[in-house]
């Protein structure tokens, strides 16, 4: 499959986009990355995602797939090269999908709210909720990994991609707020998993650097303050 047949519309800093990129990388599939400016949506974005007008969009030949989890499952199904992304056992797949829904619907949205919050009480409450969530995710990791390196077992899988993509902004939020969310004393396995994942070459090539994200965060905060 030539690189020109597979495109990803996205932004370097968006974790949902990083998911699509990492999944393609694991499948050793070349693709063209088209940087979108979400303040000024391109004709391409409006054409390939007319319903939500959001990134990421995966374009595969003449087909387009939207929504990051749906994209990763599509990549897992449609590309035969490389290791499995989803677990081979149906129950393990169900667990991976359940934890993905938990991360995306309940846990990860709190990270952004915390990062942009000025209220001391609100921050305290969010830090507690996020920490409790991480303890649940620590248990999830122990259950899913079955003693191996990743949620997916001995290789990076679906839940590694989903939760892994959240790490960069989580680290930025820790710096901004001055709190350690991924506490190695409370979630030791998860902390080791995060280090292991982020040292993988394919992951390093896709996930943005914390410094670059901090600069972007400062720009966004300045923009938000000036438009109040």
């Amino acid at each position: 499959m030539a690189a020109s047949d597979v495109k990803v519309l996205g932004m370097w800093s968006c974790p949902y986009v990083n998911r699509a990129q990492l999944a393609l990388s694991i499948k050793s599939t070349e693709y063209e990355f088209i940087e979108e400016n979400t303040l000024q949506k391109s004709d391409k974005l409006l054409k390939y995602n007319p319903v939500h007008k959001k990134i990421p969009v995966l374009i595969h030949g003449d087909k387009s797939v939207c929504e990051s989890c749906i994209i990763v499952e599509y990549i897992a199904d449609a590309f035969a090269t490389g290791p499995r992304i989803l677990p081979s056992d149906a129950y393990d797949r169900a667990l991976a999908r359940f934890w993905t829904a938990y991360i995306d619907d309940k846990w990860y949205p709190l990270v952004k709210v915390l990062r942009q919050s000025d209220d001391e009480e609100e921050r305290k409450s969010l830090v507690q909720k996020l920490s409790e969530g991480l303890i649940l995710l620590e248990e999830a990791f122990i259950g899913c990994s079955k003693g191996m390196a990743y949620f997916g077992g001995d290789s990076i899988g679906y839940l590694d991609i989903i939760l892994g993509s959240c790490l960069a902004w989580l680290r930025v939020t820790e710096k901004v707020v001055g709190v350690e969310l991924m506490d190695p004393t409370k979630a030791p396995q998860l902390a080791k998993w995060a280090e292991r994942l982020c040292s993988d070459d394919r992951v390093k090539a896709v996930f943005p650097s914390i410094d670059r994200l901090m600069e972007l965060h400062e720009l966004i905060q300045a923009f938000l303050k000036s438009s109040k």
Binding site: V65, I71, Y74, A90, Y91, R93, A94, F98, A101
Partner: protein
């Protein structure tokens, strides 16, 4: 010989869609009605995290979230398919199922239960999404084609529960006039002989929703 249990609540559309899937595959299962105001220790043991129905337990292992359960049922048991086999068609089904759930059902439900500004906001969201769905169902019997598929399963809320709720609260967004294609699809779905067997009685649901609306509590 596998052991299958389903913890549910009779009025829940999420539970009903799981039952429909199990029945489609001809799976024998034990149904356990949970009193959501007074959850049983067994139920909480299986689902300490969300504490919500439905919970499917297969050979002692629990699965939560109706969307996850539907995928599990389709992957585990033989019989007619719930999801398409083709990867792209499957991705499209997942996309539209999520759209129906998050952008249509949720704001419609919220609009009926709320008031004032919150109601107006939810109404606007629902109407924008329903316009898109109206186009999507045009010319099709079901979202799954000639046979019902996962989008139709997830659409059970807007086909059956929402029209009843709208009548109970006296606030109508999804009407035959404004959304004739969706209304026609909803009719077809609820009158389909297989789907009909898996829906609760309309009068029972209406009564329960009326009582909930009056007391301000969903259960």
């Amino acid at each position: 010989m596998s052991e299958v249990k389903l913890f549910g609540a009779w009025f829940s559309p999420y539970v009903r869609r799981v039952e429909m899937a199990l029945n489609l595959k001809g799976v024998e299962y034990e149904y356990i009605e949970e009193d959501l105001k007074n959850k049983s220790p067994l139920f909480l043991e299986f689902n300490p995290i969300t504490k919500l129905v439905p919970v499917l337990v297969h050979n002692g292992k629990p699965i939560f979230e109706s969307s996850v359960i539907l995928e599990y049922i389709d992957e585990t048991w033989e019989g007619p398919s719930i999801f398409p086999k083709d990867p792209y068609e499957r991705a499209m089904s997942r996309f539209w199922a999520k759209f129906v759930e998050d952008k249509c059902s949720e704001p419609l439900w919220k609009a009926c239960w709320s008031a004032g500004e919150e109601r107006e906001k939810a109404k606007k969201e629902a109407e924008e999404a329903l316009k898109i769905l109206e186009n999507e169902i045009e010319g099709k019997k079901f979202f799954g084609g000639d046979k019902i598929g996962v989008v139709d399963y997830v659409g059970n809320v807007i086909a059956f529960w929402i029209p009843i709720l709208q009548d109970v609260v006296g606030f109508h967004i999804l009407t035959k006039d404004k959304f004739p294609n969706i209304w026609k699809w909803g009719d077809e779905l609820c009158n389909d002989s297989f789907v009909k067997k898996n829906l609760p009685e309309k009068e029972k649901v209406s009564f329960a929703l009326k009582r909930s609306f009056e007391t301000g509590s969903l259960y």
